[in-house]
């Protein structure tokens, strides 16, 4: 009766599908802002259960080798980043989708892997571009490596953090997450704001 082909594995759509298009690389003219869509990430909201923050920290330290931040910072290694998201709350961003079930003993874990669209922004003009929408100070003196912020850009809520370890005078690299439904509007702002540098 039903078409058996329907039960084969469905294809997963990128949040940036139909939005981001690859730009031709032009080695002769370096880009001021580079944008990379971060695909296939595992993203989860982590909220410690009441009275279990210390235990959760210990578990994260043991399991991931990372210290849960207690201020707006991102603590990361090659595979995982824990980004502060409010008192007792973090965003766990894994390079690959994986189960975070073991954290559920101590925390409410909510999968957001499909709910967030992620970009990595770099290049010599990345701060100039972000300054056209970001209302916080991203100068290295104010936003050093590892700093994180929940703010809004062009009326769109964003979670943003610095992922580079560059010295003070080198251009920074930022990871940025936006709600999936607003990815197109965010890109409309981002592409217009970066256009003069590319």
């Amino acid at each position: 009766m039903a078409d058996p082909s329907l039960k084969t594995k469905w294809s997963r759509h990128s949040a940036w599908a139909d939005i981001l298009t690859a730009s031709p690389s032009d080695a002769a003219r370096p880009c001021g802002v580079n944008v990379v869509a971060r695909e296939g990430l595992g993203v989860a909201g982590i909220q410690a259960q009441r009275g279990r923050k210390a235990a959760l920290s210990a578990l994260v330290k043991m399991r991931y080798g990372l210290e849960l931040p207690t201020t707006p910072r991102a603590v990361r290694d090659a595979a995982h980043a824990f980004v502060w998201a409010g008192p007792g709350q973090w965003l766990l961003v894994a390079e690959q989708k994986e189960s975070f079930a073991e954290l559920s003993e101590l925390a409410a874990v909510s999968d957001q892997s499909d709910g967030r669209a992620a970009l990595r922004l770099s290049g010599p003009n990345v701060r100039d571009m972000l300054a056209k929408g970001c209302m916080i100070d991203l100068h290295p003196a104010a936003f050093p490596s590892g700093a994180a912020a929940m703010t809004s850009i062009a009326h769109i809520g964003v979670h943003l953090w610095r992922v580079d370890e560059q010295p003070y005078d080198r251009p920074a690299i930022f990871d940025i997450l936006v709600a999936r439904s607003m990815a197109a509007s965010f890109w409309s702002w981002a592409s217009a704001s970066a256009a003069e540098y590319n």
């Binding site: 009766m1 039903a2 078409d3 329907l6 039960k7 084969t8 594995k9 469905w10 294809s11 997963r12 759509h13 990128s14 949040a15 599908a17 139909d18 909201g45 909220q47 410690a48 259960q49 009441r50 009275g51 925390a107 409410a108 909510s110 999968d111 957001q112 892997s113 499909d114 709910g115 967030r116 300054a131 056209k132 929408g133 970001c134 209302m135 916080i136 100070d137 100068h139 003196a141 104010a142 062009a154 009326h155 769109i156 005078d169 709600a179 999936r180 439904s181 607003m182 197109a184 509007s185 965010f186 409309s188 702002w189 217009a192 704001s193 256009a195 003069e196 590319n198």
Partner: protein, 996 residues
């Protein structure tokens, strides 16, 4: 070389680039200038004296100043969609191909028919419009106003959409330096050397301020060398941002400054991807106001004749632009500064025909200087008349002994002292204070973190500017926690004299003496205001329009106050001053909007199935930020109702699918999760088993209904709440408030998962058959295993996690199937493919609305913030065994009053008639007035199942009046329909379809 075409260009003088000639057009005439010119300087170089006509009297006007304070030299710049009226020629940077048009003249600049207004001038005194056009009132809009607007308008706005883009941007610094003259530059230098993050803004395209206009020396060398060295050093600091062509237009709380950067106003059109202007929000810990000063005109007869110019502006034209504003110049000065102009003009080869110094005592050195010019000196004298029409020809001078003489010349330079540019210092409500020593207002209390340096502080000498800047720059750096080294000695400057004895107005003037050039306010208007009792500065301003033009009275306010003080026998300090408010200079609305216009006015949210809907030709509707599919027209369907009827019948007759991803979804976990639900919903939740969903209603604290939706129990301590699309954010905030403020001890964690899940409704008698083809085999969805209100984890598409809910908004057997948003598109396509044998039909918001009205389900029209659970027929849901938000307030007498309008259904008695939402209910035969109002229609739809219009509405004692007839009265759309009150459930009263 250029002198053939630029007869007033001076050889060898000035900072314009003689190797970069530019051509431009003024009123269609081709002219030439150089890079580095302003439109004003290029016009003067070409001998253009007459630039425009005045606002009220259409008097011929030329340039008065060389800066942003210019009241006269306003032009329309550019053409077509880029035409911008009221552009000051003095700040319009010349570019190749520039086109400018004089404004407020008809039919041509030289020959202006409307200048006949000037002959009727006595009639056009202050208050004339108010007094004359009072009666009859109906004539104002039709007759007087259009006529006055044509006669007295300024420039014309473009009448096509602006083709350029604008941006907003945010910047942060330790120290904001406002003004790039000697004070600002030395402040930025001192702060930069201390390691501060500095932003230096200057509205000019070249840094230097008055240094560009003066022949001065610093450390024994021409000031230009100090300037070049300083700029080079500033630009070498990585944390100093120098912003040319940038005007700070406003000062706001907490060290926030508004700035407008003219990114591409100095070129024909912005480069691709370049904005025309950028509005900056600058946050600074400290600010140094080094905005300089604005020279004061003198009020005397004919002081608006083209060729009468401020002395400092003349030095700018000569020294910076290499332009002689005339051939034979007279000097009228009230102080030492006017003599500098005489000296510079003479050095440039302009003949000085006379120096009129209003002071009786003139320094012997100056007398000697005057002899050097070969010109007579009239000390203690004044110019009381200037004439010549379109270009200055004659002056009338009254000597100290009273004798009168006339003098021929084509340029009169006027020097009457300077007013510090303190507008920004008073943007936060701080009143300027009078400083008698310099005869000017200076900043009083200052905005937090601001200091004032140099001329802006009334310290007019170059020496003081450099000293102030260095000192305040270093102090500001220290305030920011930076160590400053022992400061280098201040640079030495050549001697200067700044004494002045200002003249408020010249007594016994011949002809009109203008105070406010742009609004055509004369000294006589001030007298009239005084005579009629409009003596307070605020009344004076509004009665005469003094200072209310686009220049905001930068050159006129003080003269007006001085005359009022003289007339009322008060001091200027007693007379007071009006406040300065942002913006300091005009700001285009486009710059404030930035990126956010058209489709980008605010962000748009797109459902995970958006692309799929688009391919099917959906018509989308705005629903908050969301774009939702409203209906899916097919070829041949010419109106939305045809489409919606088809979609509705398809769902009730077979199966339809609809995106419901936009509903709010809140994940609730924690030991006390159930307690939270019990407290926020009115109904009981304790007996909800795992794997089941339940409908719930929430009240606000005041007892009115806030929202409805379902919650499903996914685990012992794990729930998923859904909200309406409109209230998704509000309910999340409400729960946050409850957990953080009302019950912080509850162990509950909530997270919005609205974005994570794509969700489709699958509704209709064949919905289970369709689902069976999509859901993986191992999940049993038979009615025994998955009855009405079941809610469980399933999988689809070969292992994709999914959540299945058997809930129904349509009243049919229906399900909602949720998958991670990345699979939303695949889900929609799989449902369509699998549903082909069942004739699956995608349906939109309209059909959903029709079906919920047929079933009497409440939605936005009824959940309008003014209805109680009882009003909506949901009183029985309110649990009496627990407390919940809104319980007590819902019991207030007015909310349980039996006469309150209650939800009911409505059918037109004549079934062919259309119903309208918003119609008010009146008893049959009752007149349409408020006393007879019984309620109103909240939602209507055409029911293709019933073949007529149906409605939901709120009517007094609705539940008791089934079968009664009333009027549905809709005067807005001429509707007056007799309707029958019925049960708000039009279809399948037993619910047989729902349970299958």
């Amino acid at each position: 070389m250029a002198n053939a075409t630029q007869p007033f260009r001076l050889p060898q003088i000035g900072l314009v680039d003689r190797n970069a000639p530019l051509t431009f057009r003024f009123d269609g005439q081709a002219l030439s200038g150089f890079r580095g010119d302003t439109l004003a300087s290029a016009l003067l170089a070409n001998g253009a004296r007459l630039i425009g006509r005045s606002f009220k009297y259409h008097r011929p006007r030329g340039l008065l100043t060389a800066g942003p304070e210019e009241p006269n030299g306003l032009v329309e710049l550019r053409t077509g969609a880029r035409r911008e009226p009221n552009t000051r020629a003095t700040v319009a940077e010349l570019y190749d191909g520039l086109e400018a048009t004089s404004q407020n003249r008809w039919p041509s600049l030289g020959f202006d028919l409307l200048s006949i207004n000037a002959l009727f001038a006595p009639a056009l005194m202050a208050g004339f419009y108010y007094k004359t056009f009072m009666w009859p009132a109906s004539f104002w809009e039709r007759l007087y106003e259009p006529a006055i607007r044509r006669a007295a308008g300024l420039g014309r706005a473009a009448n096509a959409e602006d083709p350029d883009t604008y941006e907003k941007a945010f910047a942060f610094c330790d120290i904001l330096v406002i003004g790039g003259g000697p004070a600002g530059l030395s402040a930025a230098l001192a702060a930069g050397r201390a390691g501060a993050r500095v932003i230096l803004c200057d509205d000019d395209f070249a840094l230097g301020g008055r240094l560009l206009s003066e022949r001065r020396e610093i450390d024994g060398l021409p000031a230009s060398q100090w300037l070049a060295r300083t700029i080079a050093e500033l630009e070498s600091f990585p944390d100093i941002r120098v912003m040319r062509r940038t005007t700070i237009f406003g000062v706001y709380d907490h060290g926030v400054y508004g700035a407008l950067e003219r990114v591409a106003d100095h070129v024909m059109a912005p480069a691709p991807h370049q904005p025309r202007q950028r509005a900056w929000r600058i946050v600074a810990k400290r600010a140094i106001l080094a905005a300089g000063a604005i020279e004061r005109p003198t009020v005397f007869g004919g002081n608006d004749t083209p060729g009468v110019m401020l002395a400092g502006a003349v030095r700018t034209y000569v020294n910076r632009f290499g332009v002689a504003p005339g051939r034979e110049a007279a000097i009228f000065t009230a102080g030492d500064d006017g003599w500098n102009t005489a000296r510079d003009l003479a050095a440039a080869g302009v003949k000085i025909v006379a120096v009129v110094d209003s002071r009786e005592q003139v320094d012997p050195n100056l007398r000697t200087l005057c002899e050097g010019f070969g010109a007579p000196l009239y000390a203690g004298a004044s110019v009381f008349g200037a004439s010549g029409g379109k270009s200055l020809r004659r002056l009338a001078i009254r000597e100290a002994n009273g004798s009168v003489r006339t003098l021929a010349c084509d340029l009169l330079t006027v020097s009457n002292g300077w007013n510090p540019t303190i507008h920004l210092a008073s943007h936060q409500g701080h009143r300027p204070v009078w400083n008698a020593a310099i005869h000017a207002f200076v900043a009083g209390d200052l905005p937090d973190g601001m200091r004032v340096a140099g001329s802006a502080a009334g310290r007019f000498s170059l020496r003081e500017a450099l000293l102030d800047g260095a000192q305040l720059g270093a102090e500001a750096a220290q305030d920011c926690g930076l160590a400053t080294k022992q400061s280098a000695p201040a640079p030495a400057t050549d001697p200067e004299a700044v004494a002045v004895a200002p003249v408020s107005r010249v007594a016994g003037s011949r002809g009109k003496a203008f105070v406010d050039y742009q609004n055509d306010v004369t000294d006589r208007d001030i007298e009239l205001a005084a005579q009629e009792g409009f003596r307070s500065v605020e009344h004076l301003k509004r009665y005469t329009t003094l200072g209310m033009a686009t220049d905001q009275g930068k050159t006129s306010n003080l003269a007006g106050l001085a005359i009022m003080a003289e007339l009322t026998g008060k001091t200027i300090a007693e007379t007071g001053v009006t406040m300065f408010r942002p913006p300091y200079a005009p700001v285009a609305i486009g710059a404030l909007a930035g990126h956010h216009r058209g489709q980008d006015f605010r962000p748009v949210r797109l459902a995970p199935t958006h692309q799929w809907s688009k391919e099917l030709g959906a018509v989308f509707v705005e629903s908050g930020l969301w774009r939702r599919a409203q209906y899916y027209p097919q070829p041949g369907e010419n109106d939305w109702l045809t489409t919606v009827n088809r979609e509705t019948l398809a769902v009730r007759g077979g199966v339809g699918v609809c995106d419901v991803s936009t509903l709010g979804k809140i994940d609730i976990q924690g030991a006390d999760a159930l307690t939270l639900l019990e407290r926020v919903y009115i109904n009981n939740w304790s007996n909800l088993p795992i794997g089941k969903a339940r409908y719930g209603v929430m009240l606000r604290e005041d007892g009115f209904v806030m929202d409805d939706g379902t919650a499903s129990r996914l685990g012992e301590t794990h729930f998923l709440m859904t909200t309406t699309t409109a209230n998704a954010v509000k309910i999340m905030q409400h729960l946050e408030f409850c957990l953080q403020v009302l019950w912080p001890t509850l162990d509950v964690q909530i997270a919005s998962v609205s974005e994570q899940w794509a969700q489709m409704a699958i509704a209709g008698p064949r919905s289970r058959d369709l689902l069976r083809a999509v859901i993986d085999e191992e999940h049993d969805i038979s009615d025994d295993a998955f009855p009405y209100l079941a809610a469980r984890m399933v999988s689809v598409g070969g292992g994709v996690e999914a959540r299945l809910f058997r809930v129904s908004f349509s009243g049919e057997r229906a399900y909602e199937l949720a998958v991670p948003a990345g699979y939303g598109d695949a889900l929609a396509r799989a449902l369509m493919a699998a549903g082909r044998p069942f004739g699956v039909t995608p349906y939109g918001l309209e059909a959903m609305g029709v079906m919920r009205i047929e079933k009497g389900h409440v939605a936005g029209g009824e959940l309008n913030g003014q209805t109680t659970a009882r009003d909506l027929g949901l009183a029985r849901m309110m649990s009496g065994r627990k407390d919940f938000i809104g319980r007590v307030m819902a019991g207030r007498p007015a909310l349980v009053e039996p006469d309150r309008p209650i939800l009911a259904g409505f059918k037109p008695v004549d079934r062919a008639q259309r119903l309208r939402a918003g119609a008010h209910f009146l008893g049959l035969g009752r007149s349409a007035d408020l006393d007879n109002d019984e309620g109103y229609m909240t939602s209507v739809a055409y029911s293709p199942n019933l073949g007529h219009w149906i409605g939901l509405g709120l009517i007094k004692r609705g539940a008791e009046r089934i079968g009664e007839r009333v009027r549905a009265y809709d005067p807005v759309r001429n509707g007056d329909v007799e309707v029958e009150i019925c049960n708000a459930l039009f279809l399948d009263v037993e619910g047989a379809r729902l349970r299958g």
